[in-house]
Amino acid sequence: MENFRNFCIIAHIDHGKSTLADRLLEKTGRVTEREMVMNQILDDNPLEQERGITIKLHAIQMDYTSKAGVQYVLNLIDTPGHVDFTYEVSRSLAACEGALLIIDATQGVEAQTISNLYLALDANLEIIPVINKIDLPAAQTTLEGVKKQIIDLIGCKEDEILYTSAKQGIGIDEILEAIVERVPPPIGDPNAPLRALIYDSIFDSYRGVVVNLRVFDGTVREGDKVVFMATQKFYDIEEVGVMYMKRHRTKELTAGNVGYITANIRNLQDSKVGDTLTHAANPCEFMIDGFKIVKPMVFSGIYPSNAEDFESLRESLAKLGLNDSSITYEPESSNALGFGFRCGFLGLLHMEIVRERLQREFNETIVNTVPNVRYHVVMTNGDDIFIENPAQLPPTVKIVDIEEPFIMAQIITPSEYIGNIMKLCLDRRGTLKNQTYLSPERVDLQFELPLSEVIFDFYDKLKSVSRGYASLDYEFIEYRAEDLVKLDIMLNGEPVDALSSIVHRVKSFHWGQRLCSKLKELIPRQMFEVAIQAAIGSKVIARTNVQAIRKNVIAKCYGGDISRKRKLLEKQKEGKKRMKQIGNVEIPQEAFLAVLKIED
């Protein structure tokens, strides 16, 4: 156990985490240069590569002989890099004793990095600060400042900072030496009852769930009878091993090591991230701290474009749920969209990922409604309920209070953008709670914000008002009662439930107007005038009309034009089939996400 080192990498998107990981794997001989051609081994999902983020976790074991000639086993545990996945990050950090903190020499410290760093400090990890991309010409001028930021942030000494260019392969040996010298070896008792932390689970269609874990005490062997303590599910272990580039069977894992088990687990829900695995016959006394059931924060309706595809969509969601335990889905129906599902996501990014996977991997054509948060409604009869769909809000007379989730947002930005960011956050009903200068040019702002205001294009706005420099991280704080109202949209007098939203009363008027005019742009002219109205209860607060089409016919059609004209109509008919019919009004599917495109 003395020679095990378990560590992770904390870095902002694009600061070079994947490239550095590739170099470490190469240096320790885990991959050959030939394999390196398929660059960036950790992010193996095409979506991950496109977005430059890690969604699913990986761990890779490497063998390293130090300069002093000692053999070490290094476990690199990867972490996801987005605010939607904070809990997953905290669990993989809990499986380590040390962390490489990677900072881009030209970009400096970002919010994401800081929040993950705090998680790492909370978990008592040894932090090894590394400044990457020192080969970039711009680094010449920015390096000193970044150095100072790091010293201020973690209180390290200047000579503890390592310098590297992962791309050029500079400084990799020093990092490996620092890992074995500075990261403490794991502490644990191989003879105590088994206590292992699950930091990730992946569904494999041949073996069932592959559980990735860190053993703290005891030893797990093939054939053992084990229990997941939180879910109380019992299984017989089939295979035990560690991860090289692929799974590598070792038959057992002892205290201090990181690896995987399989046990013919068919349901991902049985092995939740953060749960503790122990022996059924001789269980450990306490679970490992920090287990939480992750609850979705953002909800949206996902409907098949064609009503006939409902069953196929259900199957696709079920398959998707096999390797994404954080998505939830419940069947629901809408007068506008027919039968579909109300899905819960960790955040907007997670929602986008699910949507894209449904389209790309499962070939589903779907209509996705405007996302919303989960509201807590206190009723006059003493009940209180959570609603995940604005259409389900009870009538106003039965409501005492509507509460919405608030978050603490951490925004790190060059100080010149403070003004813009303050304005943005105040517009979104935020309150400034704290302001700390990390350096004279860099400031850490903390705002309390309603989550509902953050899920609509907040991140894009933040990036645009700060020219891309500000970074964001957030965590849930609590539910608070606010003056919220339900805003309904009616088309020719028919309410369209899928377009209902819950908004703050103060903002409802503008919101209604903007939504109406956006819908006016998106709804094509039809045979009759279409009245678009936004209403709160029975009170109409905004209205506009889509005029009837006056003329829609191509004047000429003789012998030679017939095929051309027919093809044109066939194409238009396909478009028409994709529209949703509400009463007599046809609505293009984009209209259901119109709210997301509203400009301030």
Binding site: Q526, K556, I562
Partner: protein, 338 residues
């Protein structure tokens, strides 16, 4: 072209073919010499029968019709002229790059009538940039006073590759808005109606007994053969199109192969789509036919709405659009086709 006529007529077992309409159109066929026309007709007659009651139309441009040509065409069998007047306003003719003046056009129509053509049709165009409701109205007025029994009135189409299209893209020319076009359209129907011209298709108006037989054939889904570069034909459910390039057209025929660029066998769904949209543009479609599909209830509801909104009428089992319906014919057809 003569060899194409020969090939196609032979291929179609034309001995039993009785032709009741010939239309010479596309480009400026009036440039042709009457003698050449005679050759064409004699080839056709060699392989098929041209009925004595046939409608034989020649499309023509006012600038090309001299008195001698008028009588020459008449003597080889042309019994209907379609004259591309476009407008009786010289400024508008300028925008359209036409070489004739309004006065010349007027004179040609009168001369044609004098030469004995009883079936005269003129083409007019509306929604020309710069055209006002008033100038369009005066063109229509002039048209109905001339001795014509058929008028085709189209709204201007900006075809890719034309100078007009380029100018509309680069902003030199402002195309009329959809709403303005509709005003011009209603004005057309109204004024021509007052003068005794019945709208029997979206853009076609005729006095009693003067509907263009040839057009009706297209719209009823009947069979037709087309000859020449870029021509189309439709025989026994197969639609073909010839190559547009004249040189390729000639060289292909020299090698004794049909100069087709494409040919498609229409599926039942495609045939249905065509019959419905062509019918809705013109004389209407039998209700029974429209209600054949399994989801007929949806279509029935839609038709009820059309009738309620006075966009269509139902007469002797035929659903036919009203003028308001014609104006949005494409939108309506989309709801009726499979």
């Amino acid at each position: 072209m003569l060899s194409e006529i020969e090939m196609r007529l032979l291929q179609n077992n034309s001995k039993e073919l009785a032709i009741d309409s010939i239309f010479l159109g596309g480009g400026t066929p009036s440039l042709i010499e009457p003698k050449q026309l005679e050759k064409i007709f004699s080839i056709i007659s060699k392989f098929a029968t041209i009925k004595s009651t046939s409608e034989i139309t020649l499309e023509s441009n006012p600038g090309t019709l001299t008195n001698s040509k008028l009588s020459g065409f008449k003597s080889v069998g042309i019994n209907r002229l379609s004259i591309g007047v476009q407008s009786f306003n010289d400024d508008e003719l300028g925008v359209l790059d036409r070489i004739h003046s309004a006065k010349e056009a007027e004179n040609v129509v009168i001369e044609a009538y004098k030469s004995g053509y009883k079936n005269l049709s003129i083409d007019l165009i509306y929604a020309i940039p710069g055209q006002t409701l008033r100038s369009w109205s005066s063109t229509l007025n002039k048209a109905v006073k001339l001795p014509v029994n058929h008028i085709s009135a189209y709204n201007l189409i900006y075809e890719e590759g034309t100078p007009l299209f380029d100018n509309s893209v680069n902003g030199k020319v402002q195309p009329a808005s959809n709403d303005y076009e509709s005003k011009l359209f209603y004005k057309t129907v109204h004024e021509l109606g007052e003068a005794g011209f019945e709208q029997y298709e979206i853009s076609n108006f005729a006095k009693a007994g003067a509907k263009c037989l040839h057009n009706l054939k297209y719209w009823r889904g009947e069979q037709y053969l087309g000859f020449g570069a870029s021509a189309c034909g439709c025989v026994s459910g197969v639609r073909y199109k010839n190559v547009p390039d004249v040189h390729k057209y000639i060289s292909s025929l020299k090698e004794n192969t049909l100069p087709e660029i494409s040919s498609e066998i229409l599926t039942n769904k495609q045939k249905r789509t065509e019959l419905i949209f062509l019918g809705m543009r013109s004389e209407g479609v039998f209700l029974d036919y429209l209600l054949e599909p399994a989801d007929f209830e949806k279509i029935l509801n839609y038709i009820e709405m059309l009738l309620q909104m006075k966009l269509a009428t139902l007469n002797k089992g035929i659903l036919k659009l009203t003028t308001e319906g014609y104006a949005i014919c494409d939108e309506i057809s989309l709801n009726l086709i499979p």
